[in-house]
Amino acid sequence: MHVIVATDGSRQSLRAARHLKSFADPKKITDVSVIAVTRPLAAVAFADELSPKDRRKADLEAGGFKKAAESAAAVIAAEFEGWGPKVHQRLRSGSPANEIIKAAQQLGAGLVVVASGGRGLSDTVLVGSTAQRVQHYAPCPVLVVRPNPRPRRKKS
């Protein structure tokens, strides 16, 4: 089975990758493709929050957002090193949800792993979240890794 792990450079996407590793059987997975999507027309095309900060700085200077995306994908890919399946890194540009779905179709993926970023109000109110769209239109099962619930503060 070919598994796609999507990253937007967020720490949550790294948690999603680790979550997959925590329960999946590496013998049943042939390939893991780490996909990072840059958004050329967005204010920040790709925000890498995974690499060390000095690395990020060098990336932005040397190669712009593409380099940032490469570095983030490399961090996720490193998670799967030595786990068993072949690891690939793929960079795409465009709308994240579209590109993830397209990649899933092209690679004949058996599972797509995405992170769902927020846990606040904005996540429920604002439509169009990437995870939501991938869930709806992906050609295969989707694992959406939600953030840990915020510990409730007791009001007195």
């Binding site: 050329p40 027309l41 490399a74 799967f80 786990w83 890194q89 960079l91 709308s95 846990r119 604002l126």
Partner: protein, 478 residues
């Protein structure tokens, strides 16, 4: 079995980026970006400065800008990383202060441009609904665009193309009116060679004054460098799409100015805030004038919105880059968890533009220049400075990092462009020294941000950490 293949040596579809923007899309991106800004907003001001022959001002402005475009095209094919002017100047001069100055200038230009465009938007809005005060409309406009950018729905290239088509449609309406008018035999072609030389100024000076303003209409093309990296076959398609888009925009500008000059008297154009609307309101076309007026206002507002959106996207992007280099406070690199938007940068930019609009609305009544004229001149000053330096950088970087695929701009043309940029810059400063105060004010914003980072930036770091080094909190993965 364990094998981690890295980008370079992996199979076919890894390696670089899967590029998503075709040459044609880039062409329309350029066209839409350029067309939206100027002509809808300040054709009246240019007409007032030059007289009936103001199409010449547009022609000259377009030419100088297009030459600058060739320098950009050369540099983009050499350094396709999406960084623009700051990267080129940094490569050419390696001077940190100069690079900082260019970056802040670009940021300031973008602030001023957003302000001018917002004001232009409010002029057209007032023709539909004159109720709310202009300042309120401009502030709401900026607010809405900021929210749109926060949500991030501007990422579709298709939407960009649709917007570009709508912008062109509006200008074609104006041209059709002009042709119709000529066909009716009413046109007085002498208008096209009239100059506003009332107080003893020569035609050359009148044109120069107009060019400075019309230059605003060409701005925006430098933003295409942002998407260079995503363009398919950039070495071939980028120069063609960029320069092609600018030339087409230039031809459209000249034709639209001619049509406007023929159909509406210069005085009327000069006195109007939504000057192109005057052309439509002449009722030359045998279509209901109120309907056409509404339609045209809507088109103009869409056009202006499109260009402002690009400006509003650019500001937080620059701040993000600067924050990563530790020249402005680190909070500008904060990314919203769900929307992946640099929300601090977006918010800050909106506040700066709003402040410009508020100050601009209160102050010019003393100074005698309108808000839009002031802000567009400020934008133009910053951009002329940047463009001139980009041309110099282009010449200075000749012979470095070249491959046979590199596009090569024509050197004599570049020199002409450099002189042109400097001439317009010199004239604008001479003609309107007050603009320099505004420029200084905007630059001060950048300097203050730098000082805040310089003085207080290290306090948030634990002892022993270098500037720019990640702390466990910023890196930490739970």
């Amino acid at each position: 079995m364990a094998e981690t293949s890295t980008t370079a040596e992996d199979d076919q579809d890894t390696g670089g980026l899967r590029r998503s923007i075709t040459g044609r899309q880039l062409f329309f991106y350029t066209l839409g970006d350029v067309l939206g800004s100027g002509i809808y907003v300040l054709i009246g001001l240019v007409a007032a400065a030059v007289g009936g022959a103001f199409w010449i001002a547009f022609g000259v402005g377009v030419t100088v800008a297009a030459i600058t475009g060739t320098a950009y095209a050369e540099l983009v094919t050499k350094y396709p990383q999406a960084a623009g002017a700051a990267l080129y100047v940094s490569k050419a001069f390696g001077n940190k202060v100069l690079t900082f100055l260019i970056t802040v200038s670009f940021l300031s230009a973008s602030f001023a441009a957003a302000g001018a465009l917002a004001d232009g938007f409010s002029s057209y809005f007032a023709t539909l609904w004159a109720g709310p005060p202009a300042l309120l409309v401009t502030l709401l406009f900026i607010l809405v665009l900021t929210i749109i950018n926060f949500i991030g729905i501007t990422e579709s290239v298709v939407i960009n193309m649709v917007m570009a088509f709508i912008e062109i449609a509006g200008l074609i309406i104006v041209m059709i009116i002009g042709i119709w008018y000529i066909a009716q035999g009413n046109a007085e072609f002498a208008t096209l060679t009239e100059f506003e030389t009332g107080d003893g100024t020569s035609p050359a000076v009148a044109i120069l004054a107009g060019v400075a303003l019309s230059f605003f209409a060409m701005t925006g093309f430098e933003n295409t460098a942002n998407v260079a990296e995503e363009t398919i076959d950039p070495h071939r398609s980028f120069p063609r799409s960029l320069i092609g888009g600018m030339v087409v925009a230039g031809v459209i500008y000249v034709l639209v100015s001619m049509a406007a000059a023929l159909t509406v008297s210069t005085d009327k154009l000069a006195g109007s805030e939504a000057a192109l609307l005057e052309v439509v309101q002449t009722g030359i076309l045998p279509i209901s004038t109120p309907f056409m007026t509404t339609l045209f206002s809507v088109i103009a507002m869409i056009a202006i919105t499109n260009t402002t959106l690009v400006a509003v996207v650019t500001q937080p992007r620059i701040l993000y880059g600067m924050a990563n280099e530790d020249v402005v406070p680190g909070m500008f690199s904060k990314i919203h968890a769900t929307r992946r938007s640099p929300w601090v940068g977006l918010l800050f930019s909106a506040v700066v533009v709003a402040a410009l609009l508020v100050v601009g609305t209160l102050v010019p009544k003393v100074e005698g220049a309108t808000l839009i004229e002031r802000l567009s001149l400020v934008t133009v000053l910053f951009l002329l400075f940047i463009y001139a330096l980009v041309i110099v950088s282009c010449l200075k970087l000749r012979g470095r990092d070249e491959s046979e695929k590199t596009y090569r701009a024509n050197t004599p043309l570049l020199l002409v462009g450099l002189v042109g940029n400097l001439a317009i810059f010199g004239w604008s400063v001479y003609d309107d020294p007050t603009s320099l105060i505004w420029c200084a004010g905007l630059l001060a914003v950048g300097v203050v941000l730098f000082l805040v980072e310089y003085l207080f930036g290290k306090r948030s770091r634990p002892p022993g950490q270098e500037r720019g080094e990640a702390t466990p909190e910023t890196r930490g993965v739970s």
